[in-house]
């Protein structure tokens, strides 16, 4: 056999499901008139934690990560794919007597047990679309009740627009990527920076000032997002140039892997500790769309889950004792169908699983109301959504970050208190 089917691939595809992003020129013009005008003085919220946003693009299978082993229907829907209950071979690691953690995510257990990390299950969006791209769009713009509304700005962008900078305001948000995700569309002072340690102005030093002047002048006259991005880029060159990435030693013996996700987490930790006023750091972790050969115990999902967990575990350990300085969430555009398909995979579903870690997080728990996997409780064959993802994010912004204007960030949505982030 020349070509290996997916379950025999030597390595898993680390697909980049980076989200598309489409601020129109007209919509982008809104950036020129931010919601609030600020002075350059230091804001009052200098103690605000950095929000670390992870988008697990492609729809991670929450049922294989935080496994509802106590719901016997799981094993009816997934005779070959379900992670076995605790105690069985390759069984889940018990979390609370009902849910168990996929053994490939074992690296997360210390964070869970320490109460730094929590899960919210059956969590997702009110947008019924099973299209990755529609669901991502409405989730990132924060308009799942009006998916075709044409909203251009991202909800994280609106959050930044609604609060004063917590630092100098030079670089308020970054995506560790070449592209800016839609969730940061129209965010002030925000840049995609794939390698923060390598953000240097090119060319000969002797002419750099003159060339920078020319670019500054020219870009001031063009359209957003280029115009503000040029200003931010030129300022960020100096700001990041003062950060010692190469000499950074993670705290508490934390070790970051060489994979892109772990390296991104390392860069984010460096930036948080450098105290440069970074308010949001975003990372797109793609490749969770496992229609065939899902491999939750051994295989594709298992490998990706291990990578995700080890990166998060390194960050948690590196930031131990500094939990007030960050609050992290990880989510997908939706979950996957309750029943496995004929390809040892799962098709697009609805309710998913969200992770939260850091400041204010009520960890060591699996939050949310479990709708059960009984046939009658399913939403067109999918795990129902009992927690709106916006309610989790609202608690992050209100309780852990503070000062945000939720009526602007999630316009038209009245958040339900959850007690996930206090």
């Amino acid at each position: 056999m020349y070509l290996q089917p997916k379950n025999e691939c030597a390595e898993y595809a680390r697909l980049s499901r980076r989200g598309f992003l489409g601020a129109s020129a007209a919509g982008a013009a809104a950036l020129c008139s931010p919601r609030l005008a600020f002075s350059n003085s230091r804001g009052s919220g200098s103690a605000r934690p950095t929000v670390i946003g992870l988008f697990l693009r492609g729809a991670m299978d929450g049922l294989s990560v935080v496994v509802p082993y106590g719901d016997s229907d799981l094993y009816v829907h997934r005779p070959t794919l379900a992670v076995p209950p605790p105690g069985a071979a390759s069984g889940a690691l018990d979390l609370d007597g009902f849910f168990g953690l996929n053994p490939n995510a074992a690296a997360l257990m210390p964070a869970y047990q320490a109460g730094t990390l929590g899960f919210v299950h059956a969590c997702g969006s009110t947008d019924p679309s099973r299209s990755h791209f529609s669901a991502m769009q409405s989730m990132e713009t924060g308009t799942p009740d009006h998916p075709g509304s044409g909203e251009v700005s991202g909800w994280l962008a609106r959050h930044l627009q609604s609060v004063a900078p917590s630092g100098s305001g030079v670089l308020r948000a970054i995506s560790v990527d070449e592209l800016l995700p839609r969730v940061l569309a129209l965010a002030p002072s925000s840049l995609p920076i794939p390698e923060p340690a390598d953000f240097l102005f090119p060319g000969a030093a002797v002419s750099a000032a003159a060339r920078r002047d020319a670019l500054e002048g020219a870009y001031a006259a063009t359209i957003p997002p280029l115009a503000p991005a040029a200003v931010s880029s030129l300022e960020a060159i100096d700001l990041l140039g003062g950060v010692d990435f190469a000499g950074y030693v993670p705290a508490n013996g934390a070790v970051y892997g060489a994979d892109p996700f772990s390296q991104a987490m390392r860069s984010i930790a460096v930036l948080i500790k450098a105290g440069i006023g970074l308010e949001v750091a975003h990372y797109d972790y793609g490749g969770w769309d496992h229609h065939s050969a899902q491999g939750p115990i051994q295989g594709t999902l298992a490998g990706m889950l291990a990578s995700l967990s080890e990166g998060l575990a390194a960050l948690r350990l590196d930031m131990q004792g500094r939990e007030s300085e960050y609050v992290l969430y990880a989510k997908s555009e939706f979950g996957r169908r309750a029943a496995e398909n004929g390809s040892a995979g799962t098709d697009h579903g609805s309710g998913g699983m969200m992770m939260v870690m850091g400041k204010g997080v009520v960890g060591g728990q699996v939050h949310g109301s479990w709708p059960t996997l009984q046939a009658a409780a399913l939403d067109e064959g999918d795990l129902a959504v009992t927690t709106d993802y916006r309610d989790v994010l609202a608690e992050i912004l209100t309780n852990a970050v503070g000062g945000t204007d939720l009526s602007y960030v999630f316009s038209g949505h009245a958040p339900t208190p959850l007690g996930v982030v206090l």
Binding site: L3, L15, P192, P202
Partner: protein, 480 residues
Amino acid sequence: MTPSAQQSFTSTSLPGSIAVAPSPSSDVLALVRRGTFGFSVPEFERASAMGFHACRAEQLAPASIDDSALDGLLASYSSLSMDVPTLVATFPQSGGGDAFVAGELRSARVLRARHSKRQLLERMVEFWTDHFNIDGNSGPLRYLKTVDDREVVRAHALGRFRDLLGASARSGAMLYYLDNYTNVVGAPNENYARELMELHTLGVSGGYTEMDVQEVARCFTGWTLRLGGASAGEFFFRASDHDTGPKSVLGQPIPAGGGTTDGETVLDLLATHPSTAAHLASKLCTYFLFYNAPRSAVDRVAARFLQTGGDLAATMEEVLCRESFRGLPIESTYKLKRPLHLVISALRATDATTSQPMGLIEELRKLGHVPFAWGAPNGYPDALGAWGSNLLPRWSYASDLLDGQVSGTRVSSASLNALLGGVPPAMVAETLDARLFGGTLAAVDRAELQAFVSGVPVWNGAAAREAIALALSLPSFQFV
């Protein structure tokens, strides 16, 4: 006059003549800018000599264009013409051969965009590569994508949409990438069925339901590919895996007992559906004209698509017509070049020479636009917001290109002389406007460029390279 202003950098070769800047409102200029990977003086002069209609007609019939110079450049890329068994035998995975094959395809993509005389074809190839996106970087797709690129995308890029769609549906790479090779009766896999309607044809608002997704998946049960043997990588229909029951797609009944006809019926339905015409017209107008192309242009293109039964050359004739160009709003000058377009357009404008494209691929990596490397089935975005904030790598690329820091690629002294040899410092911005921008350099950009040149202490070749790099870094060069 300062000493610096009196100096002009001189060259051993003859200075090129200063091209007269074309009128920015010229239709030929619009055709060159929007139908190629970037303006260059020779391309524009040739198009001008031919005239608008002849030039467009030639580009719409790429087989009529002699591209032997490019063929010569690609002659050593032996993997491009191989079938899958030969690829696997010649470049075995155990020796990293699959990565080599994927690397040759990436390199060829860059060389074709840069050197092909069939520029419109190459732009169409870029468009369809995203439209029928396949991640060519993982597993067997490193082999399969080479065949898909040759026999699906390149073969039909300016042909008939139904042929393109049909070839894609039977492409080993697509069958693998979107899992249809595992789609069998009783246990359907919806991945291809959904993206076929959402991305390839109708569009997400094109009027299909979740039930249609499931029914289309049933229609394509049994469509798979050979995993080994002399036909490895090729489509085949395994009748025993096909769901022979009756189906209904978009309200049309598909009777029981069908075989591959079920899938072909679906493709027929989708290829000629008005939603498909509207979806493709909107994407083509966005890609070639502007993000918010006038509704009238989109409607006109969609109508032509339907009238001609999905003739892509005719459809493109409608996209690239005077009515389209003249109907564009003033802000349509802000159609951002995606990174591949930026990289290639800089090479074309400066007449850079590339002996080995790997350095350019590395630049594309920093810019986030490596060919065939987008993971999700929607293809690289074509949106201002996605790309418009990542400026530093654009500036670094321009600087590296002129500094000789892009491995395998140089702007030679001769090319430098052709751009600025003998040009007095006071005329640098004006000259570069004509030679790099076709006269479309924005006034602010031009003033900044000239101010930089006027401030240079010693005007010499190194300074000229800096001036060109700066020109390529200005906002005007970032837009189509």
